[in-house]
Symmetry: C2
Subunit: 216 residues, 2 copies
DNA sequence: CGATACATGTAAGTAATACTTACATGCGGT
DNA sequence: ACCGCATGTAAGTATTACTTACATGTATCG
């Protein structure tokens, strides 16, 4: 994600090492403030005060206030990515993988409300977001989901008469809407139950199964 | 929606009549500006200039800049509501109604990009939105969808082993994600095809149907 | 060892902008 | 003719994101 100055190692992300302390403190301050306030009502003065760093450092280490927001989201996304890769270890089929992914995604939203708030509420409205490296990560995640769907189509687990990206959209849209109300109003989420119901609906559809003689 | 002064008739909405001309012009200006710019980068000066009205009038007729945005969305929602009621005339079953609703909803997003942008991108990030009369309309729409689902469960068309509000969430989440990319990047939407695919997925699920001897 | 280059940190300043306030104007009703 | 009230106007203010010019510490290199 390089800020202004591209250092040698550390590839730009906030990997804790190398990066100037003020930079890390500013990101931490942004995360903390987002727990209780929305992005627009957080002032740069507040951020620097909370971080115990000078206001101008925001603009040295990030493009602007939104750049800082994007960086915070970026770090969360890296964490999420690696977490989800691990989960896949023991998932043989595409549907298993999707079940896994849905659960991990919802769990991430539940246990990390700031992450959920940023992704679901705070970035979409700013056009520049869609040019950012952060958005590129999000897009990659989407591609990964599409890839799993494609895999499922190939193996015969998932229907092939609908474009895979549509199926991906339904999955991601479902996840989002199953969580967004809880995120906005700070309600709890029962991860297992929510993920289970969502997968059930996604896989089987909403139609009642007609009373066919014997199942399958 | 009453602004500051609650007039006798007109129930507050921008029903064209009674309301001061400047108020209408400001709303129209906001709509026009939103066609090309995001809410945050539209200034009050720009709004008033475009409307040919004085800047202070924004604050006389609306609570603030966001109040104006909410009013614009409110008007769109009224239009959408009445449009959707009409469509229902010739929809006997719950699934027919849902099919109808999905198509109407997507068509509305397609033919009214400003409406879609506001609802999908611009309001969610502001906490005050969820206290607004505008949000109450949106919530009512959600309740209506849930009601249709409940009707479908009662008639045996829709499965009853999942809470209706979950089914609603999947439907609305699906609609949103099927459209949001086109809204953000100003691509066209093929309403019929998109709605068809979405309903198909929603109703039947994403699993490939196993080769059961004879269908139904 | 001293000097230089550079990253990090600081403080004061500026332009833009959402919102306010106090004032003018037109008009309908009595 | 006059009063009340809704509508419209102009100038002002406080906030805030962002800038710029400067200070400090530290590691590198002659």
């Amino acid at each position: 994600m390089g800020s202004t100055t591209t250092k040698k190692g550390a590839s730009g992300s906030t990997g804790k090492s190398n990066l100037p302390p003020a930079r890390l403190k500013l990101a931490a301050a942004m995360r903390q403030l987002l727990r209780t306030k929305d992005f627009n009502s957080i002032t740069t003065a507040e951020i620097s005060r909370t971080a115990g760093a000078n206001e101008a450092l925001i603009y040295r280490y990030f493009k602007d206030k939104r750049g800082l927001l994007h960086q915070v989201l970026y770090d969360y996304l890296l964490e999420f990515h690696s977490e989800i890769q691990n989960e896949f270890k023991a998932a043989p089929g595409a549907l298993d993988k999707l079940r896994c992914l849905v659960r991990a995604h919802i769990r991430m939203y539940d246990s990390n409300r700031v992450f959920a708030k940023i992704l679901l509420l705070e970035v979409r409205n700013y056009p520049g977001y869609f040019e950012s490296a952060t958005y590129r990560l999000v897009k990659n995640y989407g591609k990964m989901v599409t890839e799993i769907v494609r895999e499922g189509v190939a193996s015969g687990e998932i229907r092939g008469d609908i474009p895979p990206f549509r199926i991906r959209d339904l999955i991601l849209g479902g996840i989002e809407h199953f969580c967004i109300s809880a995120v906005i109003f700070s309600h709890e989420i029962s991860v297992a139950a929510t993920a289970g119901q969502l997968c059930d609906l996604l896989f089987k559809g909403i139609e009642a199964v007609p009373k066919t003689g014997r199942g399958v």
